[in-house]
């Protein structure tokens, strides 16, 4: 697992992908930090974090698109799948690499907190809650992206699929306000990433939301393993 994690991390930085992701993420994070914290003269970072929800939805596919597709296309999966490691550690190695990149991206918010700390005292507990929320969102999105990547050997399709999934997650909110059916509305609200994430940015760290993101993550990790299993048996 560690070997795969290391290889994937190195791959992010020997190809443009890692740099593109970090540049895009830092640019937008910096933009919102300037626009919603520095300009209005506040120590409150919650607006930054709520904007990063959308940014994460759209930049994470960059990280996950090649995770599995590239191996399928170049047949390097034959080396991975005939090596003496379990399927689960193969999937985890790749997943943790994408997640590590995501964390490198969101860590920039800690720098913002330090900048604020130079002038005043930021609310550290609230910040920790924000950060955990964003991290959990990343866990869930990376798992979804990796799952989509494992379905195709075409990176473009993998990226487009992950974008579509992100868009879908955003649309769920809009749809639930349109529907009359209470049961359907309940299901849609329950599945809404936005509402689960928003409670973090409002300063609440509720077990319900933590469990929600972690279970999304577990489900898609499991499905990714199953995709590989199925491919073997076909």
């Amino acid at each position: 697992m560690l070997a795969i994690l290391k290889r994937e991390m190195r791959n992010y930085f020997t190809s443009p992908i890692g740099y593109v992701y970090l540049a895009v993420f830092y640019f937008f994070a910096g933009f919102y930090f300037f626009g919603s914290t520095v300009l209005p003269n506040t120590t409150d970072l919650s607006n930054v974090f709520s904007s990063l929800f959308i940014i994460s939805l759209f930049v994470l596919p960059i990280l996950t698109m090649r995770l599995m597709s590239e191996d399928l296309k170049n047949k390097t999966d034959q080396a991975l799948l005939t090596a003496p490691i379990s399927l689960f550690s193969l999937v985890m190695g790749k997943y943790l690499a994408a997640l590590a990149m995501f964390v490198i991206g969101i860590s920039v918010t800690l720098a913002y907190a330090l900048v604020i700390a130079l002038f005043s005292t930021p609310d550290w507990a609230m910040l920790a809650g924000h950060f955990i929320g964003l991290f959990l969102l990343g866990c869930a999105l990376a798992a979804i992206g990796m799952f989509i990547s494992s379905l195709t050997e075409n990176q473009v399709v993998a990226a487009a699929g992950a974008f579509a999934a992100s868009l879908g997650l955003m649309l769920v909110d809009g749809l639930s306000s349109l529907t009359q059916n209470t049961l359907l509305k309940k299901i849609m609200d329950g599945l809404s990433f936005n509402s689960h994430y928003t409670s973090f940015t409002q300063g609440m760290l509720s077990l319900k939301d933590v469990v929600f993101f972690l279970s999304i993550c577990a489900v898609f990790l499991f499905l990714t393993v199953r995709v590989f299993e199925k491919r073997r048996w076909n």
């Binding site: 560690l2 070997a3 795969i4 290391k6 290889r7 190195r10 791959n11 020997t14 190809s15 170049n74 047949k75 390097t76 999966d77 034959q78 080396a79 991975l80 799948l81 005939t82 090596a83 003496p84 490691i85 379990s86 073997r232 048996w233 076909n234």
Partner: protein
Amino acid sequence: MLEVKHLTKTYGGKRAVDDVSFTVERGQILGFLGPNGAGKSTTMNMITGYLASTSGTALIDGLDILSSPVKAKSKIGYLPERPPLYMDMTVREYLDFMYELKAVRLPKEEHIGEICELVKISDVYGRLIKNLSKGYRQRIGIAQALLGNPDLLILDEPTVGLDPKQIIDIRGLIKTLGQKQTVILSSHILPEVQAVCDRVIVINKGRLVADDTPEHLEQAMSAEHRLTVRIAGPEEELFRLLSALPGMLEVHRLGERESGTFEFSLETGREQDIRRELFFRLAEKGWPLLASRPAGLSLEEVFLSLTSESESGPGEQTDAENSEAQEGGEA
């Protein structure tokens, strides 16, 4: 060492590999012979655990590849049909990665260095794999399979893409490896298998059609003897003279080559050696024999003779061909 039991693989209702069973003893070099799409790669992929079998299994040192895959895989070094190389890595990075992935416990620098010497890739150690030629890539693939000195080496067409000198080197290497390790190699080149292997398994349309030593196989294959000759002289009279030779089964005209010289293909019984008789009769007439060479059996003929026994009807053949096409699509 390796025990393959009734391996079967079905792709969408078509049988790509059909009830293949064999065992390989430690230190044996086994050749896997078959035309493209015969099921060689599929069989190898099942033995190495890349694909799961529809039914049947393979035991490596008694470890079942389906029920204890991690332990069984640690005993196998595998070079797939297309070497599984990461183009964006240097040879050093790639071998380091594979070393860690396989959790090899031998001293790292020394072990990797040794292998690089063995397959002669030390001179490109620091270069990116994507910039290397096919021959180098193939050898890096072999190097990767050798990491950790696995008991069982499975090489899928190891000499594809190599130049003649490299082919000879790799064949030599496989022979050396075969003294300690068990080697299975696939090929569709008959002389290659003859040169390296102790034993040959022939697969056609997913079925095992022969399992023997190369010598026996060759004898069984070549029921008749064939000779191609080039003679300067009048064509018609030559044809009559050749046809009248004792033990001659068939004479084919191959046409005029240089002006006034003709080539013929002669087919005689296996025990019959007509070369001396041929020389004296031609000398008598004063027609010089310019060239004479034995025409070996081509692989197609080997397969024709092997498969004509195992096939029952034309209907079945179409079926098998379909499954070949499908396998090609999956690859």
